[in-house]
């Protein structure tokens, strides 16, 4: 096919207040081509795409479609130019069927569901989607919902498709299927832009890669002529060591034992079903699973924040050698027992930290009760804050800056730093690198490793299987609130874990098979 530009951006600049989200970005996507936009979090990928989709308006620069300059001032304009965007968060009506959602909001005079269903069916046939047009959204899996979103924009005749982090919520198998569909669409002459920060996906799928770094356009390379190391360097601006050092666990003794816990959410739906496992001291236990499979509830149950329906959480106290029963205890009672349990929750600013308070006051969250005085002691927390800022290279104007003003990576460093400062014996971390750039991510991995080497029992809930396989000693897979398998991270494969993630029946527990 002749190389013809479907969309071209010239010197696009967009600023929010004093923050420049995009500066002089130039891009070209040809018809029948897949372009990946690669960049770390906060590098301006989504902002750029939102300008093409008509959600934001650029401060400067020009957009050309089929060689002609256009102004896209609203999503409606974008639609007129046959641009379709699939957002990270789906915009679907739960109680409608796939077809009903697809035709929703279209004004073509008549409302003919039968005909629409047939068209949807044709689109599915053409590109190999697997979805039932009559199925209701609320009965669908995440990947099916995503498929509906893609069909929705195709149905509207989009020639330029933008996908914002489409693989974040998919299993490896589902990702593969999505890529097959995207390749078929490319062969059909569509221009596809995919936003991602996963390097191996970029390399396997796209024809060209455009790299953004801190809002600036670094360059575009042909995928065939590049490799992971070069792309990382373009993304980060310097060479990065991509290996995680993993030591052999020493004196691994059981530290935390979870026995047959059941847990229901507010609606009475079971979210944890007969979960049992042992976390050893001096070991990183990974927890893998599709988002929302009960990971959050599991950690909160251990931390005393979730009411258990049944089961027990036991802690093997290294000081006394006693078994402490943590079941039904509140977080304060757990601490008063002398159990040093640190928890980095998934919701950093909604649970782990207070966004409007400064770093010093956030340091106090764990320790403010100390001492008999009715007044706060801010000296210690202030020293700790300054220590963490220096040690973990937190970028902040000062220790008295509200944490909500910090970037995601720096917020996480503050939180992890505080939790580690409590010298824990058990450290639980839920998605600790979500939204972090590569350097910050590796800082966090190193911190977790350091804790492991000090004999802490680390429980790490992650989403990137490559990282889980490199960092952890054992990986426990959770699916719909059940433990579906425990594997040795040194020998397991991604495919094996992917299968366990979607498996529905529980692991047949052979009397503590994984006891160290």
């Amino acid at each position: 096919m002749a190389q013809k530009a479907a969309i071209e951006l010239k010197n696009i600049t967009k600023a929010f207040g004093s923050v420049v989200a995009n500066k002089d970005v130039c891009l070209t996507v040809n018809k029948g081509e897949i372009l990946s936009i690669l960049g770390e979090n906060g590098s301006g990928k989504t902002t750029l795409m939102n300008m093409i989709a008509g959600i934001y308006f650029p401060d400067e620069g020009q957009i050309f479609i089929d060689g002609e300059e256009v102004v896209i001032a609203s999503p409606k304009d974008a639609f007129d130019y046959k641009i379709g965007m699939i957002h990270q968060h789906f915009k679907l009506v739960d109680i409608f069927t796939a077809t009903e959602n697809i035709v929703l909001g279209l004004e073509d005079g008549k409302f003919d569901l039968k005909n629409a269903e047939k068209q949807v069916h044709d689109i599915c046939e053409k590109y190999g989607f697997e979805v039932d047009p009559k199925k209701k959204i609320y009965t669908m899996s995440v990947s099916e919902k995503q498929t509906v979103e893609i069909i929705k924009v195709l149905y509207r005749g989009a020639d330029i498709l933008i996908l914002d982090e489409p693989t974040a919520v998919l299993t490896p198998q589902e990702t593969q299927r999505l890529f097959d569909v995207l390749r078929r669409m490319r062969d059909d002459g569509k221009a596809i832009i995919i936003i991602t920060h996963k390097l191996h996906e970029v390399l396997s799928l796209s024809d060209k890669v455009a790299v953004l770094r801190k809002g600036e356009y670094v360059g575009t390379v042909n995928t065939a002529e590049t490799n992971e190391a070069q792309l990382t360097e373009m993304m980060v601006g310097k060479k990065v060591e991509l290996n995680i050092h993993r030591s052999e666990p020493k004196d691994a003794v059981p530290r935390l034992e979870v026995h047959h816990i059941d847990c229901s959410n507010r609606e009475g739906v079971k979210v944890l079903d007969d979960v049992s496992f042992i976390a050893n001291a001096g070991e990183i236990l990974g927890v893998a699973g599709i988002a929302g499979s009960g990971q959050r509830e599991l950690l909160e149950a251990i931390a005393g924040l979730q009411r258990l329906d049944s089961g027990a959480v036991l802690y093997n106290n290294p000081k006394t050698g006693n078994m402490e029963n943590l079941t039904t205890k509140t977080p304060l009672q757990i601490r008063e027992l002398g159990v040093r349990l640190s928890f980095v929750p998934e919701d950093r600013l909604g649970m782990g930290l207070v966004g409007n308070m400064d770093i010093v006051d956030n340091m106090m969250l764990r320790s403010y009760r100390r001492g008999k005085s009715v007044f706060l002691e801010r000296k210690g927390p202030k020293d700790l804050a300054e220590h963490i800022i220096e040690e973990l290279e937190v970028v902040t104007p000062s220790a008295s800056t509200p944490v909500r003003r910090l970037s995601g990576g720096n917020v996480q460093k503050v939180l992890v730093g505080r939790e580690i400062a409590a010298s824990p014996t058990v450290l639980m971390a839920a998605y600790p690198v979500r939204g972090l750039d590569i350097n910050s991510s590796y800082t966090i991995y190193n911190l977790l490793n350091e804790q492991k080497e000090r004999g802490v029992a680390v429980i790490f809930v992650g989403e990137d299987l490559d990282v889980l396989l490199e960092l952890c000693d054992r990986i426990m897979v959770i699916g719909s609130g059940r433990i579906t398998g425990v594997v040795d991270a040194r020998t397991a494969t991604k495919e094996q874990i992917g299968l366990l993630m979607t498996k529905t029946e529980a692991l047949t527990w052979e009397g503590g098979e994984d006891r160290a």
Binding site: T13, A15, F16, G17, S18, V20, F57, D59, E60, I65, D66, E68, V70, V71, I72, A73, S74, D77, D80, Y81, K82, A303, L305, T330, P331, L332, Q333, I334, R335, F343, P345, D347, L349, G350, M351, G352, L353, V354, G355, N356, M357, D361, M364, L365, R366, Y368, R369, S373, V374, F375, L376, R405
Partner: protein, 377 residues
Amino acid sequence: MRKTTTVKHREPLIHIAKRDDMAAWQAWLIRLAAILIGFFVMSAVLTALASTSSGKDLSFGDILERLSRSVFGRLFEGKFSQLWKFLQETAVLLCLSLAVTPAFKMKFWNCGAEGQALFGGLAAMFCMINLGGKVPEPVLVPLVILASIIGGAVWGVIPAIFHAYYRTNETLFTLMMNYVATQIVAYYVYANGQGSNVINPVSTGALPVIGGQQYLLNVLIVTLLTVLTYVYLRFSKQGYEVSVVGESQNTARYIGINVKKVIIRTMIISGALCGIAGMLLVAGKDHSINTATVGGQGFTAIMVSWLGQFNPYIIAAMAALVSFLQIGAAGAADAYFLNSAYADVMVGVVVLCLVACEFFIRYTVKFRHSKKGGALA
């Protein structure tokens, strides 16, 4: 072929962009300007209205003089009684505003300051009438103060308990409690007023007059409370817990704060401070009580607390501003035979200006062709 050639969209005329780089002094300058604009515009309107109603040709200066004389009286002639009245009004409004502040910091919308103050005042009145003459004055006065604190605290803690344990809506609950308090006071006045529906001033148990000034003690008490509230919120462990619960109950639970306990404890404090305000009115000013004793200041206090951004010192300045406008505009309107509602309109407009100016503190407005402008700087 496609619509591309026919669709011509123009760039929108203005964009609004967020900013977070304004220095604190600039922000306060904008707020001050907003207050002055509101004040001068409303004074000009008042000049026109007063000229019509009085049939005299009044100048802008006449009105300003009237306003300030209503508040400060004839200061230069050595008469301070008007000024003391202003200070007393400010003190009570400030006390009520301080009272709701800890609750607001906790995001517990206490709209019941009116009722809590009235109930505290009723408790004080009850002691003054029933114990007056039976116990010596030095014992009675502390008893009156204590009774008002307990009265206000009880009225504040009831909605808090229901909110903590049954998740009832605190805004509606505290509002409703106002009506209950008003009706109890109405009944009390009826029962004790010997048919006249007025309780004659009682001198037993009243706050002592110090320094020859009736309101000096009131002003001193509230000044002390302002400092105490600031210290409590900023430096005490309990104040820290209030902030954490207000910002995020999830975080509070995560670090092991007993959220129910904090809600109840904070509302006891909030109610107690309201009770003290009621006591200042009953034992420190009127020596009597009726359903209008608090006179809506419990609601004005909500606004003052917000305007003061929950900082007791700024709240003090805002309380003074609001009482200045209330008393000054009411006095000026009265002098020229205008409806006293003009005072409320004036307060409303000035406050609106103050609130609206936040837009210019948080956002900048950029026009279509100012592309090369300083927005990126």
